[in-house]
């Protein structure tokens, strides 16, 4: 991987777009804007991570949120019960998610197509049901943070800003990571697997190893932001941590923006959250926002299956350089 690749204008357009979005609440200093953008940035991290597995490798994970939930649980357990500080807990959350992916990857990545998708649902549900019975993690009531914990970070208000900065940095890092993976030989191997796994194997891609690393890579950051999200939230419960619906929302974001592209998942995350916000606040659509979102998803799947960025790339080949 040479550094000249990092000079690609498309990468920097994406990074700058996300950075500007992230700086907006810092400039205005409004807490409500910060909360709104926080949700968007969180989705950018999760959707871009999922894209490494879904978009590059072509494996549909319906239970990706399991890494977010597990990371959150491990992190909060270490902070609350073991008295760790946020930084090592974040690392531990990411590590736990990565390890789970490494172990699972050995087993379930042998499954192809719909079988893999179903196995990921099964794992998410098994994990949720298990944590529900797991006493060290508080069983069905989960874990709650003592409000005093925030004092170590300059009080609750400061802690919220701190978490915001970290998520912004992670979102930017994740976009660069997506780009680096996509343009590397490893990424090329992943995309070969997506197009035709058997052919990729014949051409010398060591598919089990590549798939497993893609899975691990797509699991670590969700684990880390899981810690941040639930630390900010103050408590964690099994239904919140392993919400299958959220997993599928991530798939929608990736599809909306364009799967397999660097900019797509970020754009999809922003677009989806923005749309959801609009629907939730409008009098006309407030009650049927789920139905409207479903209809929109259906229209995208049926008519623009490549997503926004994919569609532009196909329609205007000249822009491809700017939309990696």
């Amino acid at each position: 991987m040479s550094l000249t690749k990092l000079r690609n204008p498309g990468l920097w357009i994406t990074v700058i777009a996300v950075l500007l979005l992230g700086l907006w609440p810092i400039v205005t200093q409004r807490a409500s804007t910060r909360e709104e953008i926080f949700t968007v940035l969180l989705s950018v991290v999760l959707a871009s991570s999922l894209n490494i597995l879904l978009g590059y490798t072509g494996y549909v994970s319906f239970g990706h949120i399991v890494f977010f939930g597990l990371g959150g649980y491990v992190g909060l357990y270490l902070i609350i019960v073991q008295g760790w500080s946020l930084w090592p807990a974040m690392a531990a959350g990411g590590l736990a998610a990565g390890l789970l992916a490494l172990l699972l990857g050995q087993a379930i990545l042998r499954l192809r197509g719909s079988y893999f998708a179903l196995a990921t649902i099964g794992i998410n549900e098994a994990m949720r049901a298990f944590i529900n019975n797991f006493e060290p993690f508080g069983g069905p009531t989960g874990l709650s943070l003592n409000f005093q914990t925030y004092n170590a970070y300059g009080g609750a208000a400061n802690a919220l800003w701190l978490i915001y900065y970290i998520v912004l940095i992670l979102a930017l890092f994740n976009i660069v990571l997506s780009y680096v993976v996509k343009t590397s030989k490893f990424g090329l191997g992943l995309m070969a697997i997506r197009e035709d796994e058997d052919a990729a194997e014949v051409m010398g891609v060591i598919t089990p190893r590549s798939k497993t690393w893609a899975y691990v890579l797509s699991a670590i950051l969700p684990g880390v932001v899981g810690v941040l999200f639930f630390f900010k939230n103050g408590n964690i419960e099994p239904p919140q941590a392993f919400r299958l619906h959220m997993s599928i929302e991530l798939l929608v974001m990736v599809m909306l923006g364009g799967f397999g592209t660097v900019f797509g998942p970020a754009l999809g995350a922003v677009g989806y959250q923005r749309l959801r916000g609009l629907l939730l606040t409008s009098d006309l659509f407030k009650n049927i926002q789920l139905a409207v979102a479903g209809l929109l998803l259906l229209l995208i799947i049926l008519f623009i299956p490549a997503g926004a960025v994919g569609w532009i790339r196909r329609r205007f080949p000249i822009l491809r350089r700017y939309l990696p």
Binding site: R110, N133, G294
Partner: protein, 284 residues
């Protein structure tokens, strides 16, 4: 309670689970589509039966027949609108298309019916045999399930249309070359799948309270059963349902009830890994 009583309860419900899973496995087997709107259609079946019974005073078992017809029509419409265009696209497209249908149904359903629980207040009495109490509604539901399975087999193996469905399952291209209108057969198969889901919902509504969101649980159970029984194998689905029902009946006897889903889903993943064709073997 005696273990025999637990077992009977589980077994009787298992028959109905089997019908729900049969709907999923039929669609999966025929067109290789995992129908993620399965759960919401089960819930619609529950509500349809509820309104037929409460508003129109129709006997629930006549209601189930009406629910079946409505389910068949709904499925054919869903196929035409949402599935047909992406039937040959990568499986992510069909997964998300059916999930979009699920969102639309749940969204509209929540607005129309809210999420407060409903209950079909209907009883057929009960009979006590030794330590076991048999609830009338559950026994009838189990018998109805056996009847439906028999009817489905009769349709698939003794009618021309059923032969078309099997031909399209085996090889769609070859079936088309033989002059079988595959698009219409696929629409019919999808309709049959949703019909079974709606009927299962209707039967469940006669003995359990429900909300518009209840379908999700039964959808997950259907996945487990499909894999247990082998994808595309309707009789396997019925046996899978019985196995799952038995588990649900027996596990609470040894462990707290909250462990049931843990064991179910671990079993699910393990079977996927060890024998993805199911315990009874997939059709094909």
């Amino acid at each position: 309670m005696d273990i025999l009583a637990f077992l009977t309860d589980g077994l009787l419900i298992g028959f109905v689970y089997g019908i729900a899973a049969m709907g999923l496995t039929l669609i999966w087997g025929v067109m290789n589509v995992i129908n993620l709107s399965h759960g919401s259609i089960i819930a619609l079946g529950m509500f349809a039966l509820y309104f037929l019974f409460v508003s129109l005073g129709i006997n629930p078992y006549i209601g189930v027949v009406i629910v079946a017809v409505l389910g068949l029509l709904l499925g054919m419409i869903i196929y035409a609108v949402a599935i047909h265009r992406v039937i040959n696209a990568p499986h992510l497209s069909t997964l998300l298309a059916t999930f979009a249908v699920n969102m639309i149904i749940i969204g509209l359903g929540t607005t129309a019916f809210s999420t407060s629980p409903r209950n079909v207040d209907f009883s057929l009495g009960s009979a006590t045999v030794g330590p076991v109490t048999l609830l009338g509604t559950r026994v009838v539901a189990a018998l109805a399930s056996v009847l439906i399975t028999a009817a489905l087999y009769f349709f698939l193996y003794r009618t021309t249309l059923g032969k078309y469905v099997r031909a399209v399952t085996d090889n769609r291209a070859a079936a088309e070359l033989m002059g079988i209108p595959s698009a219409r057969v696929l629409a019919l198969s999808f309709g049959l799948g949703t019909m079974l889901a709606a009927v299962a919902g209707g039967l469940i509504a006669t003995f359990f309270p429900f909300t518009i969101l209840s379908g999700g649980t039964y959808e997950l159970k259907s996945f487990v059963i499909c894999v247990l029984g082998g994808v595309g194998n309707p009789l396997g689905a019925l046996f899978g349902g019985l196995i799952l029902g038995t588990f649900e009946g027996i596990i609470p006897y040894f462990l707290p009830t909250s462990w049931v889903p843990v064991i179910e889903f671990i079993l699910f993943v393990v079977i996927l890994l060890v024998r993805p064709t199911g315990l009874l073997g997939a059709k094909k």
